[in-house]
Symmetry: C2
Subunit: 199 residues, 2 copies
């Protein structure tokens, strides 16, 4: 569209590369940004560049941090013998929102996906094994997503770890709290039945 | 959430100030940005700051441009005696998408809104009147939004302009093309009936 000033279209193009932001939304945001106070735009731009520059992986668990180790690994109280294995750093944030889990994490930074050529050496499985020999670990909780790749990855890791004498668990599948049975798919319902507990 | 590295949370905070982006989406985007190639993040940040710095209002119509006058005002072929009055620069982009209108624009940069203390002197009405005396104008098309403020603003401008002997029109109200009658509200339906045309 020739009617959109080039710098606005450039902002829209850049924003439309973000997940879930189509060109129409990107253009709406671009117009909003042009009308924002200049210092606010600068602050946003700086946050982006600074964040991308200063954040890297925690050398122990693979979570995002601006330090050598993340806050959770640095917290002695969380070294309780449990390691929760997740796919991505943002899954750590999701688990933490629960405020219930008191152990450590291990971020795989991916899941096994033969279709995409991602094998065991491409995700942080070796690092997980290394932790089992250097840290005191009683239980590894596999919290990869309940999808095909997540299940396959959990099964693969479970097979690797069990011979090492560590307790390996998988998060439960079932109907999400607050949802409606009617909308649950059959596999979820079957898993929910299978995992039923005495009251 | 202490588990989200501070620089990531900062990006999320900044993004959540944008319209339609809640904290959950902002955090998802922030995690995505941290995982993006560094040069892509830099490119996005630069587009934001450069856009905000180089774009300003066209001195004639009030649309956004990086020049003194926007492309439309600079285009001699569009000086056809028509001026379409809209509320915001992004409404110009919306009208242009239609590829049907060949005249000029006038961006009010707001609408009358007594509740918010926005009166005739706060939007570019004076500039519109000035254009009528310096440019050759046959018709002013009022294309403010079909909401309360937009209607009031259109009515106000129409009252001002009519004594000046210029033709003043208002875009038609009706059922959106491709929509379903069932979902149209009563006022829209009434307007659609009122504006019915012989076939």
């Amino acid at each position: 569209m020739a009617s959109v000033a080039e710098p606005i279209q450039r902002i829209a193009n850049e924003l439309s590369r973000l997940p879930g932001i189509g060109m129409k939304t990107a253009q709406r945001l671009a117009y909003h940004i042009i009308a924002m106070p200049a210092d606010q735009v600068k602050s946003l731009a700086e946050a982006l560049v600074e964040g991308r520059t200063t954040v890297h992986f925690c050398e122990q668990c693979g979570n995002y941090t601006q330090n050598t180790r993340c806050e959770i690994c640095e917290n002695e109280e969380r070294h309780n013998g449990q390691i929760c294995v997740v796919r991505e750093p943002r899954d750590v944030a999701a688990m933490e929102r629960m405020r219930d889990y008191k152990g450590l994490y291990h971020v795989l930074n991916g899941v096994l996906s033969p279709m995409d050529g991602i094998g065991p050496d491409d995700i942080r499985i070796r690092e997980l094994l290394a932790r089992l020999s250097t840290e005191e670990v009683d239980e590894v909780i596999l919290a990869t997503n309940p999808d095909i790749e997540g299940e396959a990855t959990a099964a693969y890791i479970a097979r690797l770890l069990k011979p090492m004498g560590v307790r390996v668990t998988r998060i439960a599948h079932g109907v999400p709290v607050g949802s409606d049975l009617e909308y649950a798919d059959e596999v979820t319902l079957a898993k929910a039945m299978e995992g039923r507990q005495e009251l």
